[in-house]
Every structure is written in C-alpha cells, then in structure tokens.
C-alpha cells in the first residue's frame, strides 16, 4: 500500500513543502483570490479545460495561470493565446510542482501585475497522477481530471490523487457513444435490463411524430433532420445489435478465454467480427427507413431538397415533377442498398 514519502526517505520533505504551501496560501488569502490546482495524467485534457474555462470566464473574472511543465513552454503559449497572463514554470527533472516553485512563479507574476487584482489563479500541474497529489502548493481546491480512454481502474491504482481531489472531472466523454450501446446490452444482463424497456418504448414511437418537436427546438436546419434519423434508427439498430451479440456462440468466447484473452480483446477480436455481417445487414435495412425519414422531414419542413421539390410540385399540380422526384428517390435508395451489399461481400465473405 501507499507509504508516505517521509517514511521511506527519512526526510521531512513534505513537511517543509507544507510550510511553504501555507505561506503561499496566506498570500492568496491576503490577495482575496481563489487558487485551483489542476492535476491529471498526461494528455487527459488539463490545458484544453483551461483554454475553454479561461475563454468562458474571461468576461467576469480576472485570472492568471501558473503553468507547470517539465521542459517546454508549449502549453503556456497555447494559454497565452486566450489573452490571460500565463507564467510558465519549467520543473526540469521534477515530476510535480511544489510550493517553492509556485512561490517563485508568484514572484514572476508580481512583476507583470498586481496579484490583488486577481479573482482566480489557476495552477496547471505537471501531467502525472502520483507526485502532484502529495505536494500542496497552497491551493484552496484540488481538481483532478480523468479521461474515459484511461480506463476505469485509475482511481484504484492512484488512490491518493482521487482521494485528495475536491473535484474529479471526467473528460473525453464524447468518445463514449462509440462504445456501442448494443454491444454493452448484449454482453451485460444488467445494462440490458436497464435499457431494454426504455428502448422498446421509444422504438414504437413513430419518428415522424417527433418532427414538430424537433422544428420547435432546432428550427429548419440540418440538425433536426439528423436528429430525426437518429430517433428513427438508433433504437432499432441497438436492439438488433444486442440480439446479434447474444447469439455469439459460447464456444468462440470460451476458446478465446482459454487462450488467455481478456474482456476487451474478446469484444474487439471475437464479438465484433462475428456480429459484423448482421450489423451491416441491419444497417442496410435501416438505411431505407433513414432515407424515408429524410424525405418526410423535407416534405414537412425544409427550404430545399427532393421532398421540398415534391411538395412544391404538388402546389402547382406538376405531377411529372412528382414522378421524377419519386424515381430519383428510388434510384438513390437502390444505389445505397447496392453499396451496402458490395461492402458486405468484401468485408464479410466468410458469412456468405
């Protein structure tokens, strides 16, 4: 288990740091500013978080950043571009910022502005989940970032960081939908039971009935059409994929397990290839309803498009244009279908 540093080194390093940190905090309190210490592993999104936060808060708050980095000033340059004062602190070989370095950074900051004018001081620590957790810099609050790509075991492996943090931000959650919901439902009975009733319910709601809502919320642009197709196909696709996953033969999964395979390789190398033909076929069939929904959306509410042309032609009784529109719609649908068949022949020849 975790051993405090002073126990292993016989030094009172942390106590000395603590002393300096308290000194820093007295300064912060005297200047009436809030200091946040932002920590995470490398690449979890600290600098991106700061970029966005600085831009969003710049109008309301006076801010500055102390930017810790081992050798470069790349991040400091990125943040300087937002227009907020940034003091780079290069730590050299140290894998964290300590209170003395921050104190040094404050001296540099004071040459540029009066700290008492600040509301918020950001300290961006070095990318590391270990040492920064131990070394206080005088901050009022610790913020830890955890990105979804790091894996859910990180709080277990680096307990000090996640225990010390006052706030943990989960980042890169936009990647989550790419872990297909259907695969999750097909492999985990719990997720399946949670989501299946909801999915079944929404699946029976006719997608075109959502058009009025979508127009009210999102207007007449592309977005409501994209959302309509999403509503009309997502739930059906998900349930089909879930079923396909349930029918993966037990032997194929167990063989991989006896060959030493763990969950993730089994999902990517056994489950995914096995269900690929069925998934493609489901997509092919659903493409027809997606295509229908585009035209329906254009008939009801659009400023251009094939559906709009048909509804215009109706107004002027131009039946020839209506027939032409129908033929074009049919031909495009057929091309999409042929494309999917060709893709299946190429990608899943083993299943034919």
């Amino acid at each position: 288990m975790h051993m405090p540093l002073e126990d292993t080194l016989g030094l009172n390093l942390l106590a000395a740091n603590q002393h300096q940190a308290e000194h820093n905090r007295e300064h912060f309190d005297a200047w009436r500013l809030l200091c946040l210490n932002v920590m995470s592993s490398p690449g979890a999104g600290k600098t991106s978080l700061l970029e966005r936060s600085l831009a969003a808060l710049a109008a309301d708050l006076q801010m500055a950043v102390l930017e810790g980095d081992m050798t470069t000033q790349l991040d400091a340059e990125r943040l300087e571009a937002v227009g907020v004062p940034v003091v780079p602190i290069t730590t050299g070989r140290a894998c964290h910022l300590d209170a003395a370095m921050v104190s040094g950074g404050l001296k540099l900051l004071k040459q540029r502005l009066d700290p008492a004018s600040l509301d918020l001081l950001w300290v961006e620590n070095v990318g590391n989940l270990v040492c920064p957790a131990e070394f206080e810099v005088g901050e009022h609050r610790k913020v830890a970032l955890l990105s979804v790509t790091e894996g859910d075991d990180k709080p277990l492996k680096y307990p000090v960081m996640f225990r010390e943090a006052h706030c943990v931000l989960i980042t890169k959650t936009d990647l989550l939908p790419y872990l297909p919901v259907g695969i999750a439902m097909g492999t985990s009975p719990v997720i399946c039971r949670l989501l299946e009733p909801l999915m079944g319910l929404i699946r029976y709601m006719p997608a075109p009935a959502f058009i009025p809502l979508l127009i009210i919320y999102f207007g007449l642009d592309e977005l409501p059409k994209v959302l309509l197709i999403f509503i009309g196909t997502f739930f059906f696709n998900t349930l089909m994929i879930m079923d396909a996953v349930k029918f993966v033969p037990r032997e194929l999964v167990e063989t991989a397990r006896t060959l030493g395979g763990r969950t993730l390789p089994i999902l990517t190398r056994v489950v995914a290839p096995f269900i690929a033909p069925e998934v493609l076929d489901t997509y092919r069939i659903n493409m027809a309803s997606a295509w229908n929904l585009v035209i329906v959306a254009e008939l009801v509410a659009a400023t251009e498009g094939l559906g709009k042309r048909i509804s215009l032609a109706q107004r002027f009784l131009r039946t020839d244009e209506i027939f032409m529109g129908l033929i074009v719609i049919g031909l495009i649908g057929l091309l999409i279908d042929l494309g999917f068949r060709a893709l299946m022949r190429r990608a899943c020849s083993w299943a034919n």
Partner: protein, 256 residues
C-alpha cells in the same frame, strides 16, 4: 507439471432447484501423461473439464497446477471443444495464430510457430483456407494446433471427436495418439466412448452420474504400438468388456 484435482464438488441452482453435479472428484495429471475421463451423459465429466479450464468455479474442493490454485481461464490450460470452435472469419493459419497474438508474441515468432504447428497437424497446405472449406476432422486438427501453439501445460480435450463420422474418428484417434507420442504433450480427454479412452489414455477414470463421481480408475497397460492391432487384440477387448459391464451396472434402468 502436476495438475491436482482435489475433492471437487459442484452444484448448480439454489434452494429446491439445487442440483448436485459433482461430488468429491479427485485425481491428478502429471507431465507427459494422457488421462481420460469416461462416463455417460450427465456424469459431470464436462463440468470437471470446465472447472479445470477455469470457465466455472467449484462449489467446494480445489484445483491446482504445481501448487498454484486455478481461479480463472489461462493459456496454461489449452482447450479443444467438441463443436468446431474455429473463428469462421479467420483462415486456418490465422486461427492457429489467434492465441499467440492474444499472448502478445512478436510477429515473426507467431508466423514461425503457426507454420510449425500447421505442419505438426499435417495441414500446412490448408493454411489459407477458411474453416468452412475444411472437413470436420481437419477443423478439429486446426483447433488442436491452435491450442498447442499457445504452449499450454496441459491440453484439455472435451469430446473432441464426438461430432465426427466413425471413419474420421478412428483416423483422428490415431492422429492424436501419434501427436502425443511425437510432442510429449500432457492431455486430459473427456469422452463417452470407452474404446476411445482405452486406445488413447494411460489412465482411465470412469465416472458415474447423479451425482457425478469417479467410481473406478484403471491404468491401461497394453501394447499401444499399433492402434489397428490393439483394437482387436484379446486383452484390449477383455478389458473393454469388463469396464463396459461396470458402466452398464451403474445405469439403474439397464441393470436388471
């Protein structure tokens, strides 16, 4: 390598639906041995195999390899299933390479060992074929090659020839015996076919149903040099008949 199975018990279900499948099953397998478990369906022999593979957990008792307890599946125990468990989207060679890739071996090593093990099972020519283009016997030989390529300490064979025609079955039995002699592998065979067990194994444990348990263990001391000859030799037939009678006496419906 010493595989120790110690007073293994297994029940499925809870309360009134609880069914005892195994009671106090104990035996051992040592390096280079060929051991068979024979029993009718319902005698729990497949459950023993799944427990050893780590695919299920015992209700009581212990399984260990060289003193280390078995708790989960691992590549030290290779398994060959009765039904063809080849990945249908991979060629024969890719199937053989599959386990080694999961183990993270280097690409040249995987290529070299794949070629070697295809050679070992006599299917070097079939390397580029998809499983559906191979006969049942060939598919099982690929499955055996895949299991062996991952360097298991013991090969678990769960009715590996149960789904094959009788002629192919016999040639596969000779193939397996020959493979065992050439490679010095350690094997545990599950079968309902007494003749198959006696032809292949040095030690045969006979299992009886409800609950599954070992009722008799035989060490087979016969001349295995020619399998065709062995099949019809008098001592072999006598031993087979004696054990078959014992098996029949265990079935309440048949023992009159």
């Amino acid at each position: 390598m010493h595989l120790q199975i110690d007073r293994l018990c297994k029940s499925f279900g809870y309360g009134a639906a609880r069914k005892e499948v195994l009671r106090d099953v104990s035996f051992a397998v040592n390096s280079g041995e060929f051991v068979a478990l024979v029993g009718s369906s319902g005698s729990g022999k497949s459950t023993v195999m799944r427990l050893i593979a780590g695919l299920e957990q015992p209700s009581a008792g212990a399984i260990s390899i060289d003193g280390r307890p078995v708790t989960a599946p691992g590549s030290d125990r290779g398994m060959v299933f009765q039904k063809y468990s080849l990945y249908p989207w991979l060629t024969a060679a890719q199937n053989v390479a599959f386990g080694m890739e999961l183990q993270g071996r280097s690409r040249p090593e995987v290529r070299e060992r794949t070629a070697y093990f295809l050679e070992v099972v006599g299917l070097a020519d079939a390397a580029r074929h998809l499983p559906r283009e191979l006969s049942g016997g060939m598919q099982q030989r690929i499955a055996i090659a895949r299991a062996l390529a991952a360097e298991p300490q013991v090969l678990l064979l769960d009715e590996p020839f149960g789904a094959l025609d009788i002629q192919i079955r016999e040639s596969m039995q000779e193939f397996l015996r020959d493979l065992w002699q050439r490679t010095g592998l350690t094997a545990l065979l599950i079968t309902h076919d007494l003749e198959e067990a006696l032809l292949l194994a040095g030690t045969v444990h006979i299992m009886a149903p409800s609950p599954g348990r070992i009722v008799r263990s035989v060490s087979v001391e016969l001349d295995h040099s020619s399998m065709a000859h062995l099949r019809v030799s008098a001592p072999f037939l006598a031993l087979r008949e004696e054990l078959a009678q014992h098996l029949r006496s265990l079935e309440p419906a048949l023992a009159r």
